[in-house]
Point group: D3
């Protein structure tokens, strides 16, 4: 009987194998060398995929917070971690030195879920209805920021703060409002017109953040 | 033969009618009196739906531009036009008096397509990569603003400008950055921390836009 | 302090820049030279995208209505306006000369929202339940046609009528029933069988609309 | 050790049970007594769901083909089979007596996959590009009809034909073109205008199919 | 008048033709020679698509049940039937010889709808809440298995059983639990740890099913 | 001028406020007292939503690992954290005591992304093609498990291990294979038939895991 099973096995396995050719959609590790599509990158050949593709080690060490915001975002988006391509999820590590802040920003492509791993973070978002939702988060607290809403995180403690954030998209995007306004060539007159900010303030921040015009 | 057809018709129609009970998803006119869901509002009974449900007349007349931005947005979102519920589309009318502006804003829930019906509009958006895409649009020109990106429209002519805008969602949302920052109770200290703006500037705009804290 | 900011800026910007490589999904301007996918066309390289990609000027002038239906549809679908690729929206201009009509048709891929910009239009759709919803629309009126439903527009006034229509898909499709029946090689016998139309009628319209068989 | 396991089991099971309260989305058997939503019907309580909810017996017997089209469609859509609610699939049985036909129709909400179980069927569809794809199907043959495209099935054999059809939606809809045109109150003048059909033909079919006006 | 129509026709048809270039999304027959994407395969050129692409004949004949499970699954997934690419549906034929069984399995990518065409089948699934839903199905009975749930089919009659199954995905996948556990190189110690199975049992089945380690 | 702004402000704000009524879809905090739908729970009234709704504190403390698997899963799914309703994301905390294991399981509704916060974890998944992908993860390592695939986590170190896992669904589900097989009333004969397991083994585990039949 076991003999019989052994004989028949190849036949059955061959079905599975041939079928498996059609099952690449178990996963679709992104081939970043190919052009992206609205649904994500074309898939790397399954035969070339190894377990290493599904593992990302970049979130293990602190980002460099020696910068203007005393903060660092280390992304594990599809661009850094191609295995999340098409899976509707990605992650990042957030490091905030004392006084550090992730300035007001949005993720155009997805919602964010933040888990505080270390320290104390003041976090919040502002809804389209202009309502403010903000609070202080301690180690182990989780907060969700709905897709596209303006939000921020501030280290409100005296030590380093670390959070693991995940997103409902492999490619959520990151648009920091003050960089969008002051770190490019958008003319000061336009910035002032669309924000009500004073000319002096706009020119000052353009200078600080490397903008022109 | 036609006689025969006439006799058999009720049988066949009865299939269609009973079937039609299951076909409410031809459309799902929103019942705004019920609780919303992530996919939209529950459907009004098909038997209570009339052609008037599918017609919205609010975009026919100019909005009131006698306000701080010399502009008016007249929405035909699901809240005003329940027939778009579940259909993945909505619209609005944009009126810009001379000097009018729709301040920097995002639509968290959808992409926007703008068609200039009258006048001249300077419009643009800023990508997550911080790149600026802006230009001057004339009557008949169309511009698309990708979902979630910061964008603006300014009347760059000497007469009134009017645009018809449509969205890839029945409920795209509208988040005006300066109102999110200055027209609510978000503490000035937090605003300054997450935007790099000066205290004086923040307090001035909070006063102008009705914010507190 | 500003000095300190200036020093640290490159570090922070480099994060943004590297991150931005992964943010192509801010938008995905279609590369029509590549093969389409079920989610749309592959994306044009972001570095090759300019503001002009997001602007379409074709809806500014009237279409040629000197044809059998005294009407013209000028599409701004992904095929004409690649920037809408993946954004879930597109548009078109509808011109109806006096007596003009857009014959009974469906858009297999999306819902339609119509705004009358000039003139008077009799428009309607028929639901799967066989119910008829039709009315007369005047300048500024908006009507929504749910996805896949048979609908039509007729100039019911004495002057030209113009409408801006938008769709919940970059590629809604357009299937005109009488062209599907009479403007191709579908055998008359089959057409008659599946429509109950008389042979004489079918052959007459096949001749008028250029069909064979 | 087994003792230890037995002791600890309730603790672990209680996790599973409490967790299971959140897992209703294993399935969402539709509660047809509640209002539909754009995503389908609200879910019947899991505690009230039995295996019978997942079984539909209606496709087992032939539909009544004693009607104008000598055909019957027996649907297992969400309206008849609430277990498919939210699952993105449904089915139907198609019976075609000799000479039977399913007239030209569309399913606004989904694609159709047909498997011939008995007999011979001439089936086809017409694309938006106006191209005709039709052929003769024999027992065991499968044909797919893309969403929203006009298609038809004709019994091209001498015996009864039976097919099992499935759809990519729990609620695909069914819009039969000739019933949409001739079996309701859409005025003849409008029908003629939007189809190019002759008045005599329209009035004849309205009479046959029970239409008015 | 007909003359006039004939003259104007080319103008109108040319609109349709150029438009049709953008309408490839009527369907997207998969080009399996290209890399897959998260949304499916790139589309075969419409000009190269023929009616044969939409027809699959493989479900017409019984699969080979001379194997360990006395069963055969003949898939019409995108890998075998590229026309379903992007259409959200696929199908398969299930043959069960007397004593045949489709072992416990899941379809990671879609829900399954089964219609018994011949014989008697004991079928069931187990929910995340650990509840069992199983019953005996007779010719013509339909059962739906919600996405991702463990399910099985057993021939509970004395003759061959045949079923047509359809899926809510062009590429539902097929993961047979015992093959996942015993037909590969997953070390026995790991299998035992994650299943509570005894070493002897694991080693026995690895030998039977061709596993190693 | 500021005076003028102040006067006009109410007019403009009133637009925002009325508009905001339609913007509940900024978020849709689930009302768990209402019936679920295929897209999630109906939304709690925005006026009743506070910042606390967006914060979950349950992931801060270790789960109770004094159980058969020496492991605990603390979910922050929609059932425990209603704010994730409709947002396409959720999270959980995983605690593994020395020797602890999360047995072979699937999440029918979503992909999983795991970040090791403490300790060493041997984790892996098995694809539909029967390929095994497993490895050892250290503090800070991230691994993604594609939707619906069988996977497991084992504490391969000598101390407690902790991981933060997130999912691409507010309600991913959790189906533990051995509980599905042995912890319910699925008859032993059926279990044996669909798994190839021996009667003795099945009966033994049913006894250990609390199953019957």
């Amino acid at each position: 009987m076991a003999q019989d099973k052994t004989i028949m096995l190849p036949i059955f396995l061959s079905l599975l194998l041939s079928a498996s050719d059609a099952l690449v959609q178990d996963f679709c590790v992104g081939d970043l060398s190919a052009a992206d599509t609205p649904a994500g990158y074309p898939c790397k050949k399954v035969s070339a995929v190894t377990c290493d593709d599904f593992v990302f080690t970049g979130l293990g060490k602190a980002g460099n917070t020696s910068n203007i915001i005393k903060a660092a975002v280390t992304p594990a988006f599809v661009g850094q971690f191609p295995a999340v391509n098409g899976l509707g999820i990605s992650a990042a590590r957030l490091d905030l030195a004392p006084g550090g802040v992730v300035p007001l920003h949005t993720h155009p492509g997805g919602s964010e879920l933040l888990v505080v791993v270390q320290g104390t973070i003041c976090a919040g978002f502002i809804s389209s209805a202009n309502a403010v939702y903000f609070t202080t988060l301690y180690k182990g607290d989780t907060m969700v920021f709905p897709q596209g809403q303006l939000h921020f995180q501030i280290n409100s403690g005296n030590d380093n703060a670390v959070a693991i954030v995940s997103f409902s998209s492999p490619n959520p995007g990151l648009q920091i409002t003050s960089f969008a306004l002051f770190a490019n060539s958008l003319p000061s007159a336009v910035v002032e017109k669309v924000t009500f900010l004073d000319d002096e303030q706009v020119k000052k921040l353009k200078k600080v953040l490397g903008g022109t015009g």
